[in-house]
Symmetry: C2
């Protein structure tokens, strides 16, 4: 059973740790042969919505890698069908929203999801928690309102997010209504995950990096903040991650969350200057894991060096890719633990906000 | 004939101006009906390599929009065939390198281009200069060594740039040799453009934003700096633009260039803090140009407000898209000129570096 004093949870709260905790975004995934074996027999959505399978997949990287956290195996879009927007996954083109949400009628028809409709996610977390070694934290997650809105409006992935931005600029009231429904859904969904055993949660704002800071502040920040306030009330730490968010860092820190996830396009030392004293998570370029061993270790050490000066959770700056060699990931985990073990923090404890 | 005292050139040098100069990346392009009319009869490479056509396309937006600069109509990949790497443009998939450059033999076979092989670009510039109204500056351009290297190594566009990064990490000496050849080619190519009449040049590092700052500093910055030193010796201002470069700004400023181009993912006020006193260019989100008139003017005014505090060239943060309404672009040009005319600079003159 998970311990409330796990290394990763202490780092989230800015407390001293015996070694830097490490986990990886998309650590449950196609680079693992045992994942591919299951995936060969089950569809992706079937895996994410069947608690026994999702729990098994969540636990696979914990057994293999020695990471400090398990992260729920799920998809950020799972709440959308419960809001009235069915989705499917098309091979090669990613998620598809069956009926994109682009006008007042469509926004008004969306409902705030009943977390009971996502009960299978709670069941997955309960199964994982029962099997998880003490000291390994259990992380739940959800997509942030803006990222969910962009999928709903675009109908799937986008390069320019032009439809999303045009709704935001041309019909700000309608956009706000959609964001409020998404924030309420996300807050209730994360509260349900926490009640089911999640000891920390990560909010993924995968596409917020497409926005100008002024637009983020006016149209997005208030809704992400509402989600973080709900998580805070539930008493567990929240990690806020926006890919490609270097220009948004001061605002991302303002939106809330106890830890700020950062990708590799900015150094952790610069990110710390921009984000204030909040603990940071990141930020190895996941492509590094495909490189020769010497380059992998040098890049790992560089992240650790740039992280000095405040609390740190080691991670990649984006999800692991299917080509990643498992042995390399395990070597990085070992290196992070060994290189950071017992080292004096370059900061004074308690700078975290939780 | 162009004047050496054009508004845009003064801003590049950090000198006071009567109004903020404005131009747009990809202002010569498919959103203009007169461009589409030519494109219907000629292939893209044919247009870029035929001086009469390229000069006409370069001049089209100047006639339409009232912008303060013409930018050479060309493609960043034109020097590659002159280095021994033939290219073609496939409809819908963008540029293709016929034989990607991925090993020592391929890198060693690349030659530094003889700018004489790109003489058609010089001829285009001479034709444009002869027709350009006084006060409208003529900008030449080239791709930066890293962006050219990534096309050569990937063989075309990429999402992850994994092959490029792996060559950089695993074979840094080989990568450096390729970058040196690209920097020497780019320096000579820009010198030729300047001799043919370019009054300023922009270096496009379109893909540098995929890099961690440490990697940029070690493997890319020295080669971009070599290009800027050559331009400086030729005596015209250089604009340095890296899309999605918010996390790299202090290093991009260090690489050289008299003006730093910034996209919309960071505010110009924050960019100024990070980049020092260098004049800035940017940074309207080009998607704004598809919005309703009120939203367009509000966003234009926000960019002007965030730009106060130092010399500024108004531009979009990325190229104009084919869907952009021409009238909207013209309204933005007028707004920039009217709103900034005669306004006292919020900075003291001469902070530019040229």
């Amino acid at each position: 059973m998970p311990s409330p004093d796990a290394r990763l949870l202490r780092a989230c709260r800015g407390l001293p740790v015996d070694a830097t905790p490490v986990w990886f975004m998309r650590q449950a995934g196609r680079y693992l042969p045992e994942y591919r074996a299951l995936r060969a027999r089950h569809g992706f959505l079937e895996m994410a919505t069947t608690p026994e399978i999702a729990a098994e997949v969540t636990l696979q990287p914990v057994r293999r890698l020695g990471v400090d956290a398990a992260i729920l195996f799920a998809d950020i879009l799972l709440p959308l069908p419960a809001m009235g927007a069915p989705i499917h996954f098309a091979d090669g083109e990613g998620p598809v929203i069956d009926r994109p949400v682009r006008d007042a009628a469509a926004v008004e028809a969306m409902r705030v999801a009943d977390p009971g409709d996502l009960g299978y996610v709670g069941e997955t977390l309960r199964l994982v928690a029962a099997d998880l070694p003490a000291g390994v934290a259990l992380i739940g997650f959800a997509g942030a309102p803006f990222t969910l809105a962009s999928y709903l409006i675009e109908g799937g992935r986008s390069e320019s997010f032009a439809r999303t931005k045009l709704l935001m600029w041309n019909e700000p009231g309608l956009f706000r209504l959609l964001m409020e429904k998404l924030a309420a859904t996300t807050a209730a969904y994360l509260a349900m995950q926490i009640a089911a055993g999640a000891q920390a949660v990560q909010l993924f704002d995968s596409w917020a990096g497409c926005l100008a800071p002024g637009d983020y502040e006016a149209h997005v920040l208030p809704h992400s903040r509402a989600v973080f306030e709900a998580v805070r009330a539930a008493g567990v730490p929240a990690i806020h991650f926006a890919a490609d968010g270097a220009g948004l860092l001061p605002l991302l820190a303002k939106a809330g969350g106890d830890v700020l996830g950062v990708d590799w396009r900015i150094s952790l030392s610069r990110a710390r200057e921009l984000a204030g004293g909040v603990p940071l998570q990141g930020n190895l370029d996941p492509a590094v894991l495909l490189a020769d061993p010497g380059a992998v270790l040098a890049a790992t050490d560089r992240v650790l060096a740039e992280a000095r000066g405040g609390p740190h959770l080691f991670n990649t700056g984006h999800g692991l890719t299917p080509e990643t060699p498992v042995d390399t990931v395990r070597r990085v985990v070992d290196r992070v633990h060994e290189a950071s073990a017992g080292r004096k923090p370059g900061w004074t404890g308690g700078r975290g906000r939780a």
